[in-house]
């Protein structure tokens, strides 16, 4: 059990806890890929081809193979253990969609903020909205760019993370790696009094 998906699309009868989390992050950071990799059911994607009109607003940072972008929602489900099922809601990263994801945030226990180490500051929008809402989050750096990873403490400082907020790196295309990132978030969320007196080991 544990990290492996249950292999069934039907939930076992023992399932009793649904954990809803958001998968957020700036444009083109790999949210849809992350949800698609981790989901045990066919993920729901609402992708649209990017238009020339959007070229000014949405800069894919030289990621030339990116031709579509999520306009409403990514959704996936993953059974983490016999008793915990994870429902992942990924929403568009661009600021103009903020009103949508605030609605989807309803009832969620926390969020995984995907980040790109080459453009850390682009995660700040999302992080500040989460903090305003009092929604706990973990930061996962999607390690797909060729940029070298700075030392951990430098990164925590760059993200201005409170002590205890998990910071992990992952590969959004790798099932094991995405599961690990999500587990670090869920452990953080399900630990009593998250954010308080919890030191990062």
């Amino acid at each position: 059990m544990g990290l492996e998906p249950s292999g069934e699309v039907y939930l076992p009868d023992s399932v009793s806890t649904a954990v809803k989390v958001l998968v957020l992050g700036p444009f083109a950071v790999g949210k849809s890929t992350f949800v698609g990799t981790l989901s045990e059911i066919p993920p729901l994607h609402t992708e649209e081809t990017m238009t020339r009109t959007g070229a000014v607003a949405d800069d894919p940072h030289g990621i030339t193979e990116k031709t579509t972008t999520t306009v409403a929602l990514d959704f996936g489900r993953r059974t983490l253990s016999d008793r915990v099922v994870l429902y992942m809601f990924g929403t568009p990263g661009q600021r103009r969609f903020l009103s949508l994801w605030e609605d989807l945030a309803h009832g969620s226990l926390g969020a995984l903020v995907l980040a790109d180490v080459a453009r850390i500051e682009e995660s700040f929008d999302v992080m500040s909205v989460l903090e305003d809402r009092g929604l706990p989050y973990a930061v996962a750096i999607n390690d797909f760019s060729s940029v070298e990873m700075p030392p951990r403490e430098e990164l925590r400082e760059a993200f201005d993370l409170l002590p205890g907020v998990p910071l992990v790196s992952c590969d959004a295309r790798d099932r094991q790696s995405t599961a690990q990132a999500m587990i670090s978030l869920v452990e953080y969320l399900l630990t009593p009094s998250p954010g308080q007196s919890q030191e990062s080991a």
């Binding site: 939930l11 649904a18 929602l73 949508l100 009832g107």
Partner: protein, 141 residues
């Protein structure tokens, strides 16, 4: 610990009332996008996906209210969303203040009686659900 209850299967009999001819399936979802109960020709995983999709749709619908203000000065409120496809319709209707009902039908559905029935069902569901937010479902609005 803040946890959510996944389903309330005991409400399914209430939802079964929407299964008129040409109705494919129906899902009742909480405001957070998780399934409360489902019926018709849909399995559990697809019910989860349909509910997530409907939650997003409801978010977009409510957000579009901003562009539909009239001179009365009151805040526009969302009541329902209807999608027409070449293969049928999707209805999304409020069921109380904490839940929504989505129904998928074929193109041949008899719109008049169907919408009447759907609204009768959400009234009943709303009475059952409206005062009972799911445990751990903090109301932020």
């Amino acid at each position: 610990m803040n946890t959510n209850t996944v389903r309330r299967p005991e409400l399914r009999w209430m939802l079964d009332d929407v299964l008129l001819p040409e109705v494919r399936s129906a899902v009742v979802l909480a405001r957070d996008g998780l399934v409360i109960t489902a019926t018709g020709d849909i399995d559990e995983s697809d019910a989860d996906r349909f509910a997530a999709c409907l939650a997003s749709l409801r978010g977009a619908s409510a957000a579009s209210a901003e562009f539909c203000s009239d001179s009365s000065g009151g805040e526009p409120t969302w009541n329902q969303t209807l999608i027409e496809l070449n293969t049928g319709y999707v209805f999304l209707i409020a069921a109380g203040s904490h839940a929504y009902m989505g129904v998928s039908t074929t193109k041949k559905v008899d719109m008049g009686p169907a919408t009447q029935r759907f609204h009768a069902v959400v009234q009943k569901l709303g009475a059952e659900l409206g005062t009972l937010p799911r445990s751990g479902d903090s109301d932020r609005s």
